[in-house]
Structures are given as structure tokens and as C-alpha cells.
Amino acid sequence: MNLQEKLSQSFKDLGSRLNGSESKSLRELRSRSFDYFKGQGFPTNQDEEWKYTSLNKIVKRDFDFSSQVSSEILAEDIEPFLCEGLDSYKLIFINGVFNKSLSMLGSNEKFFVGSLKQGMKEMPDIINTHFGKLADTKQSLVALNTAMANEGAFVYVKKGVKLDKLVQILFVNTNHEESRMMQTRNLFVLEDFAEAQIFERHQAFNQGHVFSNSVTESSVGNQAHFKHFKLQNDLDSSSMVDSTFVKQGANSSALVDTFAFSGELVRNNLHFEFTGMHAEAHMDAITLLKGKSLVDHHTFVDHAVPHCQSNQLYKGIYDEKSKGVFNGKVMVRKNAQKTNAFQQNNNLLLSDFSSIDTKPQLEIFADDVACSHGCTIGQLDEEALFYMQTRGIPLKEARAFLMFAFAGDTLKNITIPELKTQLINLVARELKVDLELNEVIT
């Protein structure tokens, strides 16, 4: 049985397991989505959007769909993967199942932080209004997720409320031998004037292959402010396709900041759209790869409303046999006058075996706009390296500092000090930068 047949079987099982417990509209959405996936299958290199990234090897694996034996995970096991020293809400999922005892929930009349399943029970109206409304039904993997996913994080913040703490979401996988496919689904709803920050991470504990097909829908109301940090530092046996859809109201701001450090294959699809004027979207990412990792960033910003702004800053450093892909697309529709759209992609290649394919695209139908993209691929500045060496900094350190500075731009939008420190430390560790020495110099 190939993966697609197994998924069909699994979809049937899911239907009988749920046994009509979900609303009729949701059931219909699921079966419609699954039919679409069945018709389309997994994307191949023949699709322009998947030209440089092949799922072929992954989907050929023998995935195991039998229900997993839940393994004993203790609080200290997961601690290293969370932001330390920070009072926060925690949502922990073990093998796709929500683990209440390890989590730190928050729920009152102002907001709700919990799992999607809980949300379906406790506030079905909100779920029905937002679930599946943003996700593109014409992408086969998103359709597959819509059909099969029934667990993930759910954060709901009411009008005018500022969520007091960071929400940390951790998806843990513990499979040893067999290959597992995960369908996780997050829903974040911020009403007008609300504020929230989220930190998301997927982590495997053992060397079994994991293929996560994750979809996130974020609905950001008028004048609301939303930040979403993603840390992708999984084992090299794990791969992930992450599709994130963000809809922003007037005067709102949203940030998706991605830190991609490893993984067999990581594909990030970011989709931004605006419903009101003067909204601001920011996409930052830093990719530091080694080994045979492949990270593919696809962004799509749809400017259909005037006076909006989007900023993309993608930095990448590629070593050993790693491969990077960037495909940024900005669409400015006919009425979206006064749009400001910027896109920047800078890359460093460190090894003869690393490669980068980049394609920054602009599609513009309005005349009164300022749109630009810039893309560079190069090496470290020889003169800067020389200067540092004349000042007694060894070449190795000098290189590390320059790379650290190169990558550092993408950290500027992080406002939570503990989170920033942790991410800086991570970047420094990846680049082998001695932060103490750095401080002495600067």
C-alpha cells in the first residue's frame, strides 16, 4: 500500500472514530478536502511551486498509521526545548495527542489558550467561524491537513485584550523505528485591538522518521498585534511542511519569524492577506544549515487593499551539503494603491557542496506603488575579515562574528528579552560564536 492508499484508509478510520461527533459543515469540509487531495496527490517537481523541493523520497517511506503507544514523557524531558526562565502558557502535544498534565493552560472570560479539541467542545461557534476559512483549499497538502487534522493549538483573544504571557507550543514525537506522518493544525484568533505572541516548535526525541504536515490559520483583527515565532531545529530524520495563513484587519501588525536550523526537509509556506487598510506584515527568517538539510521558504503576500505594507527579510547561511530555496511572491492587485512591499533575500554559501535557488517575484497591477526586491549571494567581506585579524581576532572568530552580524538583523523584532536571549544563544551556538568575546569587543 502506498502512502496515498494508507491515508485513504486512515481517513475512513478517522471518520468512524469521530462517529459524527463533529458539526455537519466540518464533516463536509473534511470530505471535500480529502477528495481534492485524492485528486491532486502529493506535489511533484512538475509543479512550479515545488520545482526545487522534492517530497519524492519522503512520501515513498513506509509510514505507520497504527495508533501509537503513548510513551512516558516527563516535564524535565521537554524543558530543554522550551524557553527557559519565562512565565508562559504551555501547550504540549506528545505524538499528536494533547498532554494536559505537562501543559500550562489559560482560560477565562478574556481569552482561551488550549487545544483545538478542547476549543471545539468549549467554544464551537468561534471554531466554526474560523476553522478552514483561511487555509487554501487548492493546495493538496493543506487540503489533506484540513481533512485529517483534529488536534493542535487553539488561542483565542477577545477584543481589546492583551494576552499577558507568551504561549509556547511544543509538538513532540517519540517514535523509534517506524515512520510517522503527523497532521497538526493550529488556530489563532485575535479580535480587534487584541495582542498575542506565540512560540512554536516541533521536536522528535528519537531517530524514527517524522513527516509533519502542519497548517496554521491566524486571524488578526483590526488594530490587533500578533507575533508568531517558529523554531525549526529538529533532528535530521524529521521533515516538515508548514503552511501558515494570516489574515489581517485594518491598522493591524503581524510578524512571522522563522528560525530554521536543521531537519531533513523543511518547507515553509507563508500566506498573508489584508482586509483593511494600513496593515503591516513582517516576515523575518534566518536559515543556518549543515549536513544534508533542505529548507524551502515560500512566501505569498496578497495586497488587495490600499495603503498596506509588507516587509520580508530572509537571511541564509548554508554549509556542507545543505540546500536552500527561497521563493517570495508579492501580488499587488489593481486597487491596492499606495502599497509598500519590500523583499530581501541574502545568502552566504560556505561549502562547495551547498547550493541556493532563489526566486523573488513581483506581480503588480496597480501603478501607485513602491515595490522592490533585492537578492544577493556572496561571501564575507575580505576587508572586514582582514581588519579584524589586524586587531588580533583570529580568522575563525572573525568569520563567526561577521556571520553572526549578518544573521542578527532578523532578531530585531523580538521584544521578549528571555526569548531573544535564547534565540541569540542558539544562533551563536550554530555559528560557533563566543558571545562573551563578542561582548568584550563590542
Binding site: 512550479e48 489593481k334 494603491q337 545568502n347 554559501l349 560556505l350 561549502s351 562547495d352 551547498s354 547550493s355 541556493i356 535557488d357 532563489t358 526566486k359 523573488p360 517575484q361 513581483l362 506581480e363 503588480i364 497591477f365 496597480a366 501603478d367 501607485d368 506603488v369 513602491a370 515595490c371 522592490s372 526586491h373 533585492g374 537578492c375 544577493t376 549571494i377 556572496g378 561571501q379
Partner: protein, 480 residues
Amino acid sequence: MTEEDKILQEVTTTDYKYGFVTDIDSDTINKGLNEDVIRLISMKKNEPDWLLEWRLDAFRKFQKMTEPEWANVTYDKPDLQSISYYSAPKPKKTLESLDEVDPELLKTFEKLGISLEEQKRLTGVAVDIVVDSVSVATSFKEKLGELGIIFCSISEAIQEHPELVKKYIGSVVPKTDNFYAALNSAVFTDGSFCYIPKGTRCPMELSTYFRINQAGTGQFERTLLIADEGSYVSYLEGCTAPSRDENQLHAAVVELIALDNAEIKYSTVQNWYPGNKEGKGGVFNFVTKRGICHKSAKISWTQVETGSAVTWKYPSCILKGDNSIGEFFSVAVTNNYQQADTGTKMIHVGKNTKSTIISKGISAGKSNGNYRGLVKIMKGAENARNFSQCDSLLMGDQCGSHTFPYIEVKNKSARIEHEATTSKIGEDQLFYCNQRGIGTDEAIGLIVNGYCKDVLNQLPMEFAVEAQKLLSLSLEGSVG
């Protein structure tokens, strides 16, 4: 209506000025595409067997190919069976001087402002005129002959220099490269051939004027240009086509070969009939242009594209030799319902190879302009360098501009810079000009000219004038 709107209104309603039909007796074979037609073309042109085999092979492979759909253009696909693949003005006798050329034909050129005698006497440009498919007049041939330069029609070259043609034809653009290149390989009727011997600097600009003339005739030109070691040549190509209601297909193939230390400069001014302002008619321009640079060679493409209903064209450079250089300078203007999907490919294979891409797009009316480019750094291309800049200017709110740059890098020593901007003419710039007593009309002209200057500067003198003329024709009312 503001001043600016008026100008845009004028721009978008201007008719094509070069539309006229010349009545010349033509020798046209029946419409349709099959092996017999290819045999007939080959026979009429008295071609050697290897070329017929080559054509037939291309045709057989062509039949297995499908028309590409990836370009961001929409059009009704031309019916390849309803095209006549051979049309030549009936040869009355061998022509030795201009007096013998069909007077009707000469009139056509006069209307286009290309007086052969003028060109011969004043500008020193050797003109190999191609009307439809067969060249009827070649000038300055003897003068070039003294230097050993061969500049003739490709059919002549097939007869007289078969060894050169056989060696290089299809070596840069393989016959199965793409759908239209394969079609061209199967049915090409004529085109230009040029060979510059070792160490020779061609003393004049070589130029060919193309015109599509015969109604319902597809034109399949084949240009082959070989610059031998250490030589230099500047080649100009320009075209205007008469007004027609049915779409005409133009699928040319241009192959450039720059051997060690050679330099080729290839300039194009393209002004095929773009269709009327409702978007009806117009030429389909599906061209494959590619050059290969050997050691320390240089190929420079310059193009000013103002015509055609649909343009689908990517002049490319394969930088095979170490230290070779590729350049691409382009101005693409689209107006009314025109669509252009154009750009370049720079394939870096050799060490220390350099490439520069400057692309300026101007979209007006209801047109769509696309830049689609590829910069590819292969694994062995140490210290490759690329700089790309693609800017788009939008005039009016009903046009579109799109940028699709592909950058693929497999070598760590590569340095690539790519930047693109899209904007309209700044109100502050216009205001400044107005305030200095320059009318909005002239100001737009000034700004557009300045915007395209980087590219227009690359054109040889004679062409720069014509290019500016075409720019102002295409954007009439907005270019001073």
C-alpha cells in the same frame, strides 16, 4: 481629466503608423505542415541531403512536443496547419544592383525610412534585407569579402560554406531545444549567416531588416553568427511589420558563437505589428536567441522591444569558457493589449565568468510586461559574478508588471546581486519639471528617456536614433 490622464488616453489610443501592405508577386506553397512540405522547402532551396535529414529529424521530434504554457501570456494558439511555410518573391533574375530590385519593395523600405542608398552611402552599414523569407539584396559584400568576412543569407551559406554551417548550426540552440525552435529547425526558409575570421575586427555594423509581408505567412528566420578567435563584430537587427488582422507567427532562431577572445554585440530593435487598440491582430514573436562564449569571449545582447502582440523571448548566454562575459540590456515597452514575457538566461560554466543584466520594462494601457530571467552558477564556475537590475515603470492603472527572476547557485565563490523595483513616474519629479516650465507631456518624455538611458546608450548610434523614434511612437504623447 488631468493632463496626465489625457496623455495616457492619447498613448493608449494611438494607431500603428507603419501598417501597410506591399503588393509583390509571391511564390507561396500551399498551407500546411508535414514532411512533404519540408522536403519541398529543402528541394526549392537546393539543399544538401544532411540538412534535409536534419530538418526531418527536428520535425519528427517536434511532433512529439507540446506547446509550452508556462509563460505568463494568454493568446489563441496559432494553427500551425494553416500557415504557408514558404513564400519567396518570384525571382525574376539574379540581382546585381539596387535598380533591379522590385520598385514596390523599394517603396516599402522608403516608407520605413530605410533607404538602401542612404544607408550604403552615408552610414556605411551593410544591409542584408530579408523580405519574407528570401534575401533579395546584399550590399557591401565585396568590401567585407576582402577581409574574409562572410555575410550572406543562410541559404547562400548552405550552398557555399556547407562545412561552417554544418559544424555550427544547432550547436547552441539544439533542434529540440523548445517547441518553436524545433519548428524553426524543421521549416526555416532563410536568415542571415555571418562569419568573422580570426583576429578580424569587422569595420562596419552589420545589419538586417526583417519584415513580415505575405499575408498568412509565418516567418521562420535562422541566424547563425560565428566570430572566430580574437574577432569583433557588431550586428544590428531591426524589424517593422505591416498591419494585419489575423495573427502572424514569427518563430526565429538566432545562434551566436564567440570563440576564444572574440566579441559579439547583437542589437535588436523590434517593432512588429502589435495589434490594434482593441488587442486584435498583431504578431506572435516566439524567438529563441542564444550565444555561447568560449575562453575570454564576450557576448552582449541589446534589445528595444516595442512591438508584437505577444513576445516570448529570452536572449541567453552560455558562459562556457573561463573569463567570458555575458551582457543583456533590454527595454521592453508594452501598450494597449500587448503582452511581453521576456528576459535572459545567464549560464555560468567557466571560471571567473561575469554577467550583467539591465532590464527596463514600461507598461501602459491594458498591457502586461514580464521579466523572466535565470542566473545559473554551475558547480565549476569559480568566482562567477552577476549583477541584475530589473526595473518596471507602470503608466496607468490597468496595466501589470511582473518579475520572475530565477537564481540558482551551486558554487560558494559566486557573487550575485539582484535588485528589482516597480514604480510609477514620481509626482515630485513631474512637479519639479512643471515648476521649471517643462510641460507634463515633455516631462514624462524626459523621465522615460532617462529611465531607459542605460540601455539606449548600449545601442550603436544609428540604432539609438531609431530606438528613440520607436519609443516615442509606442508611447506617443508621453515621450517628448
